[in-house]
């Protein structure tokens, strides 16, 4: 009986002390939030040193650096800071890929993150390409890395270089592998990119490839981009119709109802997400509603 009482007293003490520790931590957190704001630091910045320090656990350490890179990118992107600095993103990705030179996703997503335009993203296409070139040196057989370099150039509006890299991707042994045959669509893509410049067809091919990605967020982004391309094409057709209205009546249509009454439309047009397009009654140009999930549209012009 005495033993049971002692045990109970012991558990009670542990419970009280645990609550004390948690409470104290909460109070401390409230009082010293500012003082404890952590600064991201890279203690080991040399890939050569880190590879040695990791002993035979280099792949595991690479995973840890990759997770850190993701958290760093996500944390910075979601932060409220006016000017977002991604200073550690490339060093983190460089370390990750030095530890595991076959870490495909670190090259591909890493380059995607680095080339994201400012002000939201780092806007470092040069570093994205440097990272992918490292991947090409490690795995010259993979078509995905040169393709991704092309994608970075494409996003930057550098269509000539984009087309060259798509062609290089088509030349890799991996692109000619049975069952994959990526060269079959990479060559026409290169041709389209080179010939048409800013057309939505090339964009569509690129984003349709991204729809096959294994990352759900990348697939979701690609699906949204494809809807935006549909909207761009629809807006082009609608603007032709508003021009036709202006030709017939001498002024742009004040409302969609006027277009319907004129027999140019059956009903007010909706974007691919079901939001009504906005008609500018002064100039007849058409835009997305700013509450549409597809707003704002990229700058591509329809073919």
């Amino acid at each position: 009986m005495k033993g049971v009482t002692k045990l109970g007293a012991g558990f009670l003490t542990i419970a009280v002390l645990t609550m004390g520790v948690v409470r104290l931590q909460m109070v401390r957190e409230q009082r010293f939030t500012q003082a404890e704001a952590t600064q991201q630091v890279l203690y080991v910045s040399s890939p050569a040193v880190l590879t040695r320090l990791a002993l035979s656990y280099d792949a595991l350490v690479a995973d840890l650096y990759w997770i850190r890179a993701i958290q760093y990118y996500g944390g910075t992107r979601l932060s409220d800071a006016a000017s977002k600095s991604y200073a550690l993103l490339y060093p983190l990705l460089d370390l990750t890929t030095a530890l595991d030179p076959n870490f495909n996703i670190a090259y591909e997503f890493g380059a995607f993150f680095l080339s994201e335009k400012k002000p939201g993203g780092p806007g470092r296409s040069d570093l994205a390409i440097r990272l992918l070139e490292k991947g090409i040196a490690a795995r010259p057989d993979r078509w995905q890395y040169p393709y991704d370099v092309g994608f970075v150039h494409y996003r930057d509006g550098d269509y000539k270089d984009a087309a060259e890299w798509f062609l290089r991707a088509a030349e890799t042994p991996g692109a000619k592998k049975d069952g994959e045959r990526a060269d079959v669509w990479l060559r026409p893509l290169a041709a389209n990119t080179l010939a048409a410049g800013r057309d939505t067809r090339s964009s569509r091919v690129l984003y349709q490839q991204l729809l096959k990605s294994d990352a759900s967020w990348l697939r979701a982004d690609a699906a949204r981009r494809l809807k935006q391309l549909d909207a761009i094409d629809s807006i082009a057709v609608l603007e032709q119709l508003t021009a036709e209205y202006e030709r017939r009546f001498g002024n742009p249509p004040p409302r969609w109802d006027d277009m319907v009454r004129a027999g140019l439309l059956r009903r007010a047009p909706l974007d691919p997400d079901g939001h009504e397009y906005v008609l500018n009654p002064w100039w007849g140009d058409v835009t997305l509603a700013d509450d549409s999930p597809l707003w704002p549209l990229p700058t591509e012009k329809p073919a």
């Binding site: 656990y57 792949a59 595991l60 076959n102 495909n104 996703i105």
Partner: protein, 269 residues
């Protein structure tokens, strides 16, 4: 031979009594907890990360067991003075030593086998939760049988580490020193390539020669690391595994022979 078997069985039972096999539970818990967390922390390649983590956990847990139990196999008997009682029985010194070694390696192998089973179960579960696109994008299937090659190499590496720990403990009565020396050689054994090419970073030809000699003499633990190759489904050169296994067996035989010779002459007073 029977005596060696009995000693080995005793070591295995002792390890079970010492809760060594609890490491399996720790391994399974870590793997399951991490496999849940990974999905929240990373963007894709969950499978690769879980494979890496599982192999690294097997290797690390085995390393700690091999070193900390390996150095105590003989030292503990001497400390407790139970060595007198054991050697008073019809057990020869080399039988005791080899039995101890085989017992611990057996424990490690049982440990590894159960961990590998848990590893495959977790990978099969993860595989069942992945989308078809993710499975297609993965460099190897979730329950790739080639992962067993990495587990096998970890087993050989641990057998070599155990032989090394046992070797130090045959003449050193300090557990700390034995552990330090074993870990030190384990770390040095990862720098094979640096030692081999030492002459490229030093001016002195003698220093370069010493580096190269150390490369050939020290156990090359880096050779057992094929984790990256199997996880990424990269080809392993033909004959690599058998040559590395042969290297491990000869090195173990060398260390055990040296241990037996030292232990045969050791004075326990």
């Amino acid at each position: 031979m029977r005596t060696i078997g009995l000693v080995a069985l005793h070591v295995f039972r002792d390890s079970v009594r010492d809760k060594v096999l609890y490491s399996i539970v720790a391994f399974a818990v870590i793997l399951m907890a991490v496999s849940y967390l990974i999905g929240q922390l990373t963007a894709g390649e969950d499978l690769k990360i879980i494979k890496d983590l599982g192999l690294a956990a097997m290797s690390l847990m085995g390393l700690f067991i091999a070193v900390f139990i390996g150095i105590g196999l003989i030292a503990r008997e001497i400390d407790r003075r139970s060595i007198y009682a054991v050697l008073a029985k019809p057990v020869r010194r080399h039988e005791l030593l080899l039995g101890k070694y085989i017992g611990l390696v057996g424990t490690l192998f049982v440990n590894l086998a159960v961990m590998a089973l848990a590893y495959y179960l977790v990978l099969a579960y993860i595989g069942s939760t992945l989308s078809e696109a993710a499975l297609k994008a993965a460099s190897a299937p979730p329950t790739d049988p080639r992962l067993l090659l990495a587990v096998m190499m970890i087993g050989l590496e641990l057998a070599l580490v155990t032989a090394l720990a046992l070797f130090w403990s045959t003449f050193s009565s300090s557990a700390l020193l034995s552990a330090g020396l074993t870990f030190g050689l384990y770390v040095a054994g990862q720098f094979g390539a640096d030692l081999k090419n030492f002459e490229q970073v030093v001016k002195s030809p003698a220093a370069g020669l010493i580096g190269r000699a150390l490369y050939y003499l020290l156990p090359n633990f880096a050779a057992f690391d094929i984790k990256t190759e199997v996880v990424h489904a990269l080809p392993i050169q033909p004959g690599y595994l058998s040559l590395t296994a042969g290297y491990a067996l000869i090195y173990i035989a060398l260390l055990l022979t040296a241990s037996v010779m030292i232990f045969a002459r050791r004075d326990f007073k």
